[in-house]
């Protein structure tokens, strides 16, 4: 085909791909159409890859394309089969890959143009390259650390890692990178530009990434992942400016706005601000929580719990990540099935930060075959809590703590919570009274209507299920 015609086809393919990407996200709005969204998105991607390959790839260098693609497919398929509890770290890892790709393409373009077509290095293009490279490389190392924290790799500390003057060092590093970036933008063809670019700007961005994420505690990872998602998108936008490619700009902007919206939702769900998450080091306040005061609480057995559940007419289950850690989802589904069969209304109250990334809890429960119309958002279910007979908390803690409503001195004050304490009866499955990771004592446990059910979530729910399915035969 003649090159002009190829170019026309390539541009039209990009246009179509752009439209399909928008439709793809539009179809993600509800479950019914969502799989169509995946189809549209992957078709658009195939189109974009094929069009780029045909119009830009030179047959002499096809091997350079085939060799990286084959292992990418193998590893991609493998990464898509991780257990759903590991989806957050897979997502963080893919942000890292996205950042790396953007950083490398920006670097490659800069050095190529510097060496061969210096007239391409306009102020605008160099600005875009600098932004692409800084965003790309900081996303790369930042996301690797986030993935490591989520995977609970031993040598990456789970707790916030803090030292004096940390914020100053971090801001200094990124500030210096930006300053050097401006110098390169002003003099892109000078003899020192490639050295400053490769030996200072890139290492500073790489270092800023991990230094930014390492101090942030595990509890804030949902927000961090969302912010890194936005950065990965913006680095793709910058690449679009560098290559003058509207498809890249559009797709990157879609990803960037998604990351931004999810970050805002996560921040609101924890009553934090962006700057507070990134520079606030949540861990510091917590040590103050060690009150020696002994309060009394009531505990109960699986048999008691089964009886109360059986005699209720509406139950709201409040799951937290602890439920997934104990692998209790499938037992919880059996409980849901048994109670539903008896005509009891069972629903799940999902706090936005119930899992380790936005929406994570929904996926974990859907995997256990719990119908998704039973998964209710916090804001929609809180109004029903006073009419609910039993609130059953499994592996959740801070998101049910009434302290967030009234105790201004608490680190979680102002955080929206699920109103478990407003239900007629409350039951909490928990290993012990130990306040746990965040170290904040939960008032809910000491209420008069609260029964503490001590034990491993999976084993305890299994016992309750056994009591219920045993019918009147056992226990009574």
């Amino acid at each position: 085909m003649n090159p002009q015609l190829t170019d026309v086809f390539c541009k039209l393919a990009y246009l179509l791909a752009t439209a399909l990407f928008i439709f793809s996200l539009h179809w993600m709005s509800e479950v019914k159409t969502s799989r169509r969204g995946v189809f549209a998105g992957s078709f658009a991607m195939l189109l974009a890859v094929a069009a780029t390959w045909v119009s830009n790839g030179s047959p002499k260098f096809y091997l350079w394309l085939v060799i990286p693609i084959i292992p990418a497919i193998v590893i991609g398929v493998w990464l898509s089969m991780v257990p759903l509890t590991a989806v957050p770290q897979r997502t963080a890892l893919s942000h890292a890959f996205g950042g790396l790709a953007a950083g490398l393409v920006g670097t490659a373009k800069f050095y190529y143009w510097y060496g061969h077509e210096q007239n391409q290095l306009t102020k605008f293009i160099v600005t875009a390259i600098i932004l692409e490279v800084i965003l790309g490389f900081l996303t790369f190392t930042g996301s690797l650390i986030a993935a490591g924290k989520l995977q609970e790799i031993k040598w990456i500390p789970q707790r916030p890692w803090i030292y004096k003057g940390q914020n100053l060092v971090n801001l200094g590093a990124i500030g210096l990178a930006l300053l050097l970036g401006v110098m390169v933008i002003m003099n892109p063809t000078s003899a020192w530009a490639p050295w400053v670019f490769g030996l200072l700007i890139i290492p500073l961005a790489l270092n800023f990434g991990w230094m930014l994420v390492l101090p942030i505690g595990g509890a804030d990872m949902p927000t961090v992942i969302s912010i890194l998602n936005a950065y990965a998108g913006l680095s793709a936008v910058a690449m679009g400016f560098v290559l003058d490619n509207k498809l890249l700009i559009t797709a990157g902007a879609l990803d960037g706005s998604s990351g931004l919206i999810l970050s805002i939702i996560m921040c609101k769900a924890m009553n934090r601000s962006f700057t507070n998450v990134l520079f606030g080091a949540f861990g510091q306040v917590q040590s103050a929580g060690g009150k020696a005061e002994q309060k009394s609480y009531k505990s109960a057995t699986a048999e008691d719990a089964a009886q109360i559940l059986e005699s209720s007419s509406s139950v709201v289950i409040i799951p937290g990540y602890g439920m997934a850690v104990a692998q209790a989802q499938h037992k919880v589904r059996e409980l849901h099935d048994l109670l539903t069969k008896r005509g009891i209304d069972v629903r799940f109250a999902i706090h936005p930060v119930a899992g380790r990334m936005p929406g994570h809890m929904n996926v974990l429960l859907a995997e256990a075959d719990i119908p998704y119309d039973k998964l209710i958002e916090m804001d929609d279910i809180n109004g029903d809590m006073p009419q609910t007979d039993v609130a059953l908390v499994i592996g959740a803690n801070d998101v049910t703590n009434p302290v967030a409503r009234h105790d201004k001195s608490s680190p979680i004050y102002g955080m929206p919570i699920i109103d478990a304490d407003k239900a007629k009866n409350v039951m909490v499955i928990k290993r012990s009274m130990n306040p746990g990771f965040a170290g904040i004592d939960n008032e809910l446990y000491y209420l008069d209507k609260t029964l503490m059910l001590f034990g491993d979530a999976k084993a305890f729910v299994a016992d309750v299920v056994k009591e219920l399915s045993g019918g009147g035969g056992m226990g009574h």
């Binding site: 993600m28 590893i75 991609g76 790396l100 490659a108 050095y111 890249l248 990334m357 996926v363 119908p371």
Partner: protein
């Protein structure tokens, strides 16, 4: 201002508005699959990687950077779309029923 640059900035602005509008309507139920699919979509960086790795006149060290970028973005494309679909298949209203 160069009209090419101006146009790119307009595209960026409009695409961001479309993104905000579309994403805002996505049910919270699906936020994890949403993040997985936008991840795969932002691997559109693959376009830049193909240009640099397989283009006509790049020297070898530049091409190596392109190939690594191609590997990284292709991994994201494959794993991103596959895992999104895998998760979406799990959302059912009736146990054992269709999505």
């Amino acid at each position: 201002m160069d009209s090419k640059i101006e146009m790119s900035l307009y595209v960026f602005m409009l695409a961001s508005f479309i993104g905000m509008g579309v994403i805002r309507r996505v049910s919270r139920l699906l936020h994890t699959p949403l993040m997985s699919i936008t991840n795969a979509i932002s691997a559109i960086a693959v376009v830049g990687a193909i240009i640099v790795a397989g283009g006509e006149h790049y020297p070898t060290h530049i091409r190596i950077m392109g190939s690594v970028a191609l590997f990284a973005s292709m991994t994201n494309i494959v794993s991103g779309f596959l895992i999104t679909d895998r998760m979406l298949k799990m959302f059912r209203t009736k146990p054992g029923g269709k999505a």
